[in-house]
C-alpha cells in the first residue's frame, strides 16, 4: 500500500467484517444474511455490529435453511442486488448444493449473459478448533470442480480484506472459504481504506531455490514453521500461498517449480481428488522436464475429520510438512 495510509491491527475475522462494512457503506445494492448473521453478528462475529449500522433490511437473520439462503441470493442477484450470504460451517453447505451447482454457478451461462449472479457465499472451513462433527471440513476441491464457481481462501487479515472486497465486487459467484482456525490467531496491520487483491493470483511468501511448498488458508502458518525447520537444515523453500483454488494461478506455480524442481502441496481436505492432485497434474503437464522428484502431497486422510480427541491424528503439523519436504529432497 501507499505510504500515508492509516493502518489498523486486525484479526482475520475483523478484516472480513471490515471488508463487508466498507462495501455495505459504498454500495446500496449489497445485502448480507444467513443464520444468526443479524442480531448476533454471526456465530464467529464476522458481521458483528453491521445490522445496527445498516439496518435490518441489509443485514439480517434468515430462517434455518441453507438451500433457501443461497437460492434466494440467486433471485436477489437476478433482480439487481449483490448478496453476501453466510453458511455457518463448511459442513452445513450441503443442503445448498443444488442451488449452488444448478443455479448460482449457472444462471449466467444459462441465460447467455443476460443475468449475472454477483454473489459471495462465505463460510468458515477447516479443522483444529476442537469442534463437533461437521464443523471441521475442507471441501474446496469439490467447489473447484464445479464449473461456474470461483473459490477463494485467504490466509491473513490483509488478504482476507483484499480478497473479500474483490469477491464482493466480482460479477461472478464466489465461494469464499475462511480458515476459522486462524480467525483470531493472527493479527496484522491492515489498511483502513478499501483495497483489493485480484482473484486468481497466488502469492510467493518466501522465495527459495530448493523446493516449492504450496499451501493456503490455515496451512500457511504451519508451512511457515516447516520452512523455518528446513532453513535450519539448509534447505531453501519457496513458499506459495495459493489464495485462489479456482481458477488456479498456474503461472506462478509452474515458474516456481521450474526453478526448484520439487513441489510439496499441503491441504487439510481429503487426499484423493483433492487440490494436491490437481496441482500435481498441472506440474506434470507444464513442468515435467523440470521435475526432479514426484510431487509430495501432505494432506488430510481420505477419512472424516475425527472428533477432537482424535483430531491430532488428522491435523497437519509443521513436522509432517517438513517430512514431506524431506521426502521430496531425498528422492
Amino acid at each position: 500500500m501507499e505510504g500515508g495510509t492509516e493502518m489498523k491491527v486486525m484479526t482475520i475475522v475483523q478484516a472480513i467484517t471490515d471488508a463487508i462494512d466498507i462495501k455495505l457503506a459504498e454500495d446500496p445494492t449489497i445485502v448480507t444474511f444467513g443464520e444468526d448473521v443479524g442480531v448476533e453478528g454471526g456465530v464467529f462475529r464476522a458481521t458483528e455490529g453491521l445490522q445496527k449500522k445498516y439496518g435490518e433490511h441489509r443485514v439480517f437473520d434468515s430462517p434455518l435453511a441453507e438451500s433457501a439462503i443461497v437460492g434466494s441470493a440467486v433471485g436477489m442477484a437476478m433482480n439487481g442486488l449483490r448478496p453476501i450470504v453466510e453458511m455457518q460451517f463448511c459442513g452445513f453447505v450441503y443442503p445448498a448444493m443444488n442451488q449452488i451447482i444448478s443455479h448460482a454457478a449457472r444462471i449466467h451461462n444459462r441465460s447467455r449473459g443476460r443475468y449475472k449472479t454477483p454473489m459471495v457465499i462465505r463460510f468458515p472451513y477447516g479443522g483444529g478448533i476442537n469442534a463437533l462433527e461437521h464443523h471441521s471440513e475442507s471441501m474446496e476441491a469439490m467447489y473447484g470442480h464445479i464449473p461456474g464457481l470461483k473459490v477463494v481462501i485467504p490466509s491473513t487479515p490483509y488478504d482476507a480484506k483484499g480478497l473479500l472486497i474483490s469477491a464482493i465486487e466480482s460479477d461472478d459467484t464466489i465461494i469464499f472459504m475462511e480458515p476459522k482456525r486462524i480467525y483470531r490467531a493472527i493479527k496484522q496491520e491492515v489498511p483502513e481504506e478499501k483495497y483489493s487483491i485480484p482473484i486468481g493470483k497466488a502469492k510467493i511468501l518466501n522465495e527459495g531455490t530448493d523446493i516449492t511448498v504450496i499451501a493456503y488458508g490455515a496451512m500457511i502458518r504451519e508451512a511457515q514453521k516447516a520452512v523455518a525447520m528446513a532453513k535450519k537444515d539448509g534447505i531453501s523453500v519457496e513458499l506459495i500461498d495459493l489464495r485462489t483454488i479456482y481458477p488456479i494461478d498456474k503461472q506462478t506455480i509452474v515458474e516456481s517449480v521450474k526453478k526448484t524442481g520439487r513441489m510439496v502441496v499441503v491441504h487439510e481436505g481429503p487426499n484423493t481428488f483433492g487440490v494436491g492432485a490437481e496441482l500435481t497434474a498441472i506440474i506434470n503437464e507444464e513442468a515435467f522436464l523440470n521435475q526432479e522428484a514426484p510431487v509430495v502431497r501432505v494432506t488430510g486422510f481420505d477419512t472424516i475429520v475425527p472428533l477432537p480427541r482424535g483430531e491430532h491424528h488428522y491435523i497437519i503439523s509443521p513436522e509432517k510438512i517438513y517430512y514431506g519436504i524431506q521426502k521430496s529432497i531425498k528422492f
Binding site: S67, A73, R112, R114, D171, Y246
Partner: protein, 362 residues
C-alpha cells in the same frame, strides 16, 4: 376470497362449469370482450404450437418437448395479470405464459432444439430462464420478491411449479422465506395430477395442495385451473394481496396433463384411457369456446381459418429456428463467467489445436 374458499374445506374455486356456463357470477372477473377474444386466441395459438411441437419432435426435428395440452388456462390466466414490471419465474411447462411475457415461439423452439439461446427470452422483461431442477426456481422467486420490496418496486413475482414439485424441500423453504419476508410472490402450482408417471395421490396425503399454505401462514386457494375465469380472478386477488404488502399467495390450479410428460414418455403405461377421457370434458379451451360462442363473442366457424393462419406462423417460426446459426465453440466457454478464467481460455485454444490436427487427419 381466501376466506370464502378456505382450502381446509377442499372447495374448488370455479366460475364457469364444463359447459361454459357461469355458475359463480359473483366472482366473475372483469374482462373486456376484446381482451377475452385475445385470451382465447392466445390459448388457441399456444395449443396449436404445442401440438405442432410434439409432431416436429416426432419427425426428429426437435429433441424433447414437454406438452402443455390441457393446461392452457393457467398460462391464460397469468397472461391477464402479468405486467412488464412483474416477474415470471417458470419451470419448463409454461408455453402460454412465456409467450404472454414476451418470449417468442421461435425462442421456445430453439431451446428444445438444443440452444441455450432459446431461454434468454431477450425481449421479455423480467423473466427467468427455464428451470429444470424441480422446485428450485421457487426460491429464486422469494429472493426476487425480497429485492422488489428492498427496491420498493411495483412488481409481483409469479412463480410456477408442478404438483410433483410440492414434495421437494425447496418448495417448503421457498414458501417459508417468501412469507417471512412478506415478499410479493404468487406461487402457482400446476396440479396436472402427474409427476411423470407418479399420480398426485402418491405425492402426499394432504387433502389438497392449497392447504400446504397454512404451514406458512400463507393465503391460499384451490382453483379450477381449466377455468380461465377462475384462474384470472384468483390471480387478480392474489396480485392485489401481494401488492398490498400482505405477503405471498399460494394458488393450486387443478388441471390435467392431457399429453405425455415429455415426448419421450408413454402415459399408457401408467394411466387409463377412461381417466383421460373423463378429464377431456374439462378441457379449458372447449369450455371457454362454449362460453364465448354462447355470448356471441366467438364464431367457431372462423376457427379453422384462424388455425390455418396459426399453423403457417408456427411453421414459419419453427423454420426460422431450424435455420438458426450453428452453435459456435466460443459459446461453450464465454458465458461461464463474467470475468472468464485463463483456464477456460486455454482449454478453448487447446481444443482448437486439436480441431486443426483433426482436419489434417482427413
Amino acid at each position: 376470497m381466501f376466506k370464502e374458499y378456505s382450502p381446509l374445506d377442499d372447495k374448488l374455486f370455479q366460475v364457469m362449469d364444463n359447459d361454459g356456463k357461469i355458475i359463480n357470477p359473483d366472482w366473475m372477473p372483469d374482462i373486456s370482450d376484446e381482451r377475452l377474444q385475445k385470451a382465447f386466441k392466445d390459448m388457441l395459438f399456444a395449443r396449436q404450437a404445442d401440438l405442432m411441437a410434439v409432431s416436429y419432435q416426432r419427425q426428429g426435428r426437435m429433441f424433447t418437448y414437454p406438452p402443455n395440452f390441457g393446461q392452457e388456462a393457467i398460462s391464460g390466466g397469468l397472461a391477464q395479470v402479468m405486467r412488464d414490471q412483474d416477474w415470471l419465474v417458470p419451470a419448463f411447462r409454461e408455453l402460454g405464459a412465456w409467450l404472454a411475457k414476451g418470449a417468442t415461439l421461435k425462442e421456445v423452439f430453439l431451446y428444445f432444439m438444443g440452444y441455450e439461446d432459446g431461454t434468454v427470452f431477450k425481449n421479455a422483461k423480467n423473466i427467468t430462464p427455464i428451470s429444470v431442477p424441480i422446485g428450485s426456481q421457487l426460491i429464486h422467486a422469494a429472493g426476487i420478491g425480497y429485492a422488489v420490496n428492498y427496491k420498493k418496486e411495483d412488481s409481483v413475482v409469479y412463480a410456477i411449479i408442478g404438483d410433483g414439485g410440492t414434495s421437494i424441500g425447496d418448495f417448503h423453504e421457498a414458501l417459508n422465506f417468501a412469507t417471512v419476508w412478506n415478499a410479493p410472490v404468487v406461487f402457482v402450482v400446476q396440479n396436472n395430477q402427474f409427476a411423470i408417471s407418479v399420480p398426485f395421490k402418491k405425492q402426499t396425503r394432504s387433502i389438497n395442495i392449497a392447504v400446504k399454505g397454512i404451514a406458512y401462514g400463507m393465503s391460499s386457494i384451490k382453483v379450477d385451473g381449466n377455468d380461465l375465469f377462475a384462474m384470472t380472478r384468483a390471480l387478480r386477488e392474489a396480485e392485489a394481496h401481494a401488492k398490498s404488502g400482505k405477503g405471498p399467495v399460494l394458488i393450486e390450479a387443478l388441471t390435467y396433463r392431457r399429453g405425455a410428460h415429455t415426448t419421450s414418455d408413454d402415459p399408457t403405461k401408467y394411466r387409463t384411457k377412461e381417466e383421460e377421457e373423463k378429464w377431456s370434458i374439462t378441457d379449458p379451451l372447449d369450455r371457454l369456446r362454449k362460453y364465448m360462442v354462447a355470448q356471441k363473442l366467438w364464431d367457431a366457424s372462423q376457427e379453422e381459418n384462424l388455425l390455418a393462419e396459426y399453423k403457417k406462423e408456427i411453421d414459419r417460426q419453427f423454420e426460422e429456428a431450424e435455420n438458426y446459426p450453428a452453435y459456435p465453440l466460443d459459446d461453450v466457454f464465454r458465458h461461464m463467467y463474467v470475468d472468464i478464467t485463463d483456464d477456460l481460455k486455454e482449454q478453448k485454444v487447446e481444443h482448437e489445436k486439436f480441431l486443426k490436427w483433426k482436419e489434417g487427419l482427413k
